[in-house]
C-alpha cells in the first residue's frame, strides 16, 4: 500500500489554518470565532504530528508539543467562555458588532 506523502498532509493542515483565519475575520459571533481559533490550533497539531512521523521518527518532540497545545487550547476556551458569559450578561448579545463601547 502506498503511503500518503508529507506534502498532502501539509496541504490539508495549511488549508485548515487559513480556513480558521478566514472564519475569525468574517464571523461576528464570538463562539464561532473561538471555534475558528481552535481550527488554527488543530492545524498546527497536524503539522507537528506529521513532521514528527515523516521526518524525525526517532524523536517525540512534535507529539509532545501537540499534546500540550490540546491542553492549553482547552484552558483558553474555558477562560474565553467565562468571559463570553460575562459579556452576554452586560451586553445581552455575543455578537462582536454589539461590543462597541470603545473605538479608536
Amino acid at each position: 500500500m502506498n503511503e500518503i506523502p508529507l506534502t498532502h498532509i501539509l496541504f490539508v493542515s495549511t488549508a485548515l489554518f487559513f480556513i480558521g483565519m478566514y472564519g475569525l475575520f468574517t464571523r461576528r459571533n464570538i463562539i464561532t470565532m473561538l471555534m475558528s481559533i481552535e481550527l488554527m490550533l488543530n492545524s498546527v497539531n497536524i503539522n507537528f504530528v506529521a513532521f514528527n512521523k515523516y521526518l524525525f521518527p526517532d524523536k517525540l518532540d512534535g507529539i509532545f508539543f501537540s499534546l500540550f497545545i490540546i491542553t492549553i487550547a482547552a484552558a483558553e476556551a474555558a477562560v474565553a467562555i467565562a468571559i463570553i458569559i460575562n459579556l452576554y450578561r452586560s451586553h445581552n448579545s455575543i455578537d462582536v458588532d454589539d461590543a462597541t463601547e470603545m473605538k479608536f
Binding site: 480558521g20 481559533i37 513532521f51 500540550f68 468571559i83
Partner: protein, 470 residues
C-alpha cells in the same frame, strides 16, 4: 548536589508558587479584613523582591528546558519590583473590593508564567510560559465584573492573544519541521537562509509583535488598556510588555543569531511604524489610560531600535530602559489609579487645575511625564540616549534621526498634560485626595527611582556587565 541546584536556580519561581498557595490558604481560612490581607501581601512581595537578589547563579535544569543566569535573575527582579509597586498603588482600589485574593492569584500566576518564559531553553517551555502568562491576564482584565467596558476589553484581549499564539505556533511548527529540534541550544546550528525558515521566523515574530503591541499588530492595546481596571492596565503595560521584550531579546540574540540580517530589516520597519503611529495616535487621545497606551506603543518602538543594534550595548540598554520605564510608567499609572479609584475620573480634561488641589500628586505626575518624554535630568533621557546609541552602531543614521524627531513630537503631547495640570483653570477640579500611606510610599519610590537610575552610572555599568551581544 542535584537537589541543592534545583532549589537555588528555581528559587524565584518556588517563592512565587509558595506565595500563590499561601493566598489560597488565606482564602480558605478565617475571614480577614482587606487591609490586613493587603498588608500581608505587600510584605510578602517585598520579601520576594529581596530574595531575588541573593545568589544569582548560572545553570540549567530539566535537561536544558529551564536555563538561568545573572541577567535573567536580574530581569526577574525588575518584574518583582514592578509587581510590588503595582500592589502598593492599587491599595485604594482593592481596599473595598470583594475579591482581593483572586486578583492577586491571577496576577501572580501570570507572573510565574513570565518567569518560565524568560528563562526557557526550549520552544515548548517558551510557549507554555507565554500562554500561562496571557490566559490569567484575560481573566484579570474582566475584573470589574459589572462594567461593560471591562468585559469588552477582556473579550478583545483573549481573542486577539489566542489568534497571535496560533500564528506563533504555526511558526514554531515550521521551525520544528525544518530543523528537527526545539532546543534553543541546537536550533541555531540548523538555521539558514532557507525560505521556509524565514517564513517561520516571520510568523514567530508576528506572534511576538502582538504581545509587545508593535504597530501593525497594536489595535487591541488601546481598547484593552481603557477597559481593564487600572491595576491590570499597569500590569499589562509594564510587566507583561517587559517580560515579552526580555524574552524577545534573548531569543533574537541567542536563537536567531544566524539570520540576524533578516531580523534586523524586520526590526527597522517595525520600529519605524511603531514610533510614528504611536505618536500620532497619542496626540488625539482624551482618556488618560488610552493616552498612556499609545505612549507605551511609541516607547516600544524606541526599545526595538536599541535591540536592532545587536550588540552587548543593545541588550544592556533594553534592560536599562525597561527598569526606567517601570519607574516612570508606574508613577504615572499610580496617580491615575488613585484618581480613578477615589473619584472615578479618567479623562485628561479632568486633570485641569489639578495642581491647585493636589500639589504632591501633580509633581509626581509631572516628573513621570518628563521622564517618559525624555527630558534631561530625569532617567528617561538617559534610557533613550543609550537605546539610540546602541541602534546607531549599525550606521543607520536616518532611522536614528527619525526617532529623535519623533521625540520632539512626543514632547507636544506629554507637555500638553503638564500644561493643563499647572496652568489651565477649572471650575470643578478634582477635590483634595486622601492618599493611603502605602501608595504615597510607592510614588516616592518611583520618583526616587526616576532620578537615581539616571544619575547613578553604576546601574547601567552593572547591567552592561551582565549582558551579552552577538
Amino acid at each position: 548536589m542535584m537537589i541543592n541546584n534545583f532549589f537555588i536556580l528555581l528559587r524565584q519561581e518556588l517563592i512565587l508558587s509558595v506565595l500563590i498557595f499561601l493566598l489560597l490558604f488565606i482564602k480558605l481560612g478565617k475571614d480577614r479584613s482587606n487591609e490586613n490581607i493587603l498588608n500581608i501581601i505587600n510584605v510578602a512581595l517585598f520579601i520576594n523582591l529581596a530574595a531575588g537578589f541573593c545568589c544569582m547563579h548560572e545553570g540549567s535544569l530539566f535537561s536544558g528546558m529551564f536555563t538561568t543566569n545573572a541577567l535573567v535573575a536580574f530581569q526577574k527582579n525588575i518584574l518583582n519590583l514592578a509587581i510590588w509597586i503595582i500592589s502598593m498603588q492599587s491599595f485604594a482600589w482593592l481596599k473595598t473590593h470583594k475579591h482581593v485574593i483572586e486578583f492577586y492569584i491571577l496576577l501572580l500566576t501570570s507572573l510565574l508564567g513570565m518567569y518560565f518564559m524568560i528563562s526557557s531553553g526550549n520552544l515548548l517551555m517558551f510557549y507554555l510560559g507565554l500562554e500561562m502568562s496571557t490566559i490569567p491576564l484575560a481573566a484579570a482584565a474582566n475584573f470589574d465584573l459589572t462594567k461593560k467596558k471591562s468585559s469588552e476589553a477582556a473579550m478583545k484581549l483573549i481573542i486577539s492573544s489566542a489568534f497571535a499564539s496560533g500564528i506563533l505556533l504555526l511558526g514554531i511548527s515550521f521551525l520544528y519541521g525544518t530543523s528537527g529540534t526545539l532546543s534553543f541550544e541546537i536550533l541555531p546550528a540548523h538555521l539558514g537562509n532557507n525560505p521556509l525558515q524565514i517564513f517561520a521566523f516571520i510568523l514567530f515574530m508576528s506572534g511576538f509583535a502582538f504581545k509587545i503591541s508593535a504597530v501593525p499588530f497594536h489595535l487591541w492595546t488601546a481598547d484593552v488598556y481603557e477597559g481593564a481596571p487600572v491595576a491590570v492596565t499597569s500590569f499589562l503595560s509594564v510587566i507583561s510588555k517587559a517580560a515579552v521584550l526580555f524574552a524577545f531579546g534573548t531569543v533574537l540574540y541567542k536563537v536567531f543569531e544566524p539570520i540576524a540580517n533578516t531580523w534586523y530589516a524586520v526590526l527597522v520597519v517595525l520600529s519605524f511604524a511603531t514610533i510614528l503611529i504611536g505618536n500620532l495616535f497619542a496626540i488625539r487621545q482624551e482618556n488618560f489610560k488610552r493616552f498612556l497606551a499609545f505612549s507605551s506603543i511609541a516607547q516600544v518602538g524606541f526599545i526595538l531600535i536599541g535591540l536592532s543594534g545587536s550588540s552587548q550595548a543593545g541588550l544592556a540598554s533594553l534592560v536599562y530602559f525597561i527598569l526606567i520605564y517601570v519607574f516612570s510608567n508606574l508613577a504615572a499609572f499610580g496617580v491615575v489609579s488613585l484618581v480613578s479609584a477615589l473619584t472615578g475620573k479618567e479623562n485628561i480634561a479632568d486633570f485641569k487645575g489639578f495642581y491647585k488641589t493636589n500639589p504632591t500628586l501633580s509633581w509626581v505626575l509631572t516628573i513621570a511625564l518628563f521622564s517618559l518624554a525624555g527630558v534631561p535630568p530625569t532617567a528617561g533621557f538617559f534610557g533613550k540616549l543609550f537605546l539610540l546609541m546602541a541602534g546607531a552602531a549599525k550606521d543607520n543614521y536616518w532611522l536614528i534621526t527619525f526617532a529623535a524627531l519623533n521625540m520632539v513630537i512626543s514632547f507636544y503631547y506629554y507637555l500638553r498634560i503638564v500644561k493643563s495640570i499647572f496652568m489651565e483653570p477649572n471650575e470643578q477640579p478634582i477635590q483634595k485626595l486622601a492618599i493611603p500611606v502605602v501608595s504615597k510610599f510607592a510614588m516616592y519610590l518611583c520618583v526616587a527611582g526616576i532620578i537615581i537610575t539616571g544619575l547613578a552610572s553604576v546601574v547601567y555599568d552593572y547591567i552592561y556587565s551582565l549582558s551579552f551581544g552577538l
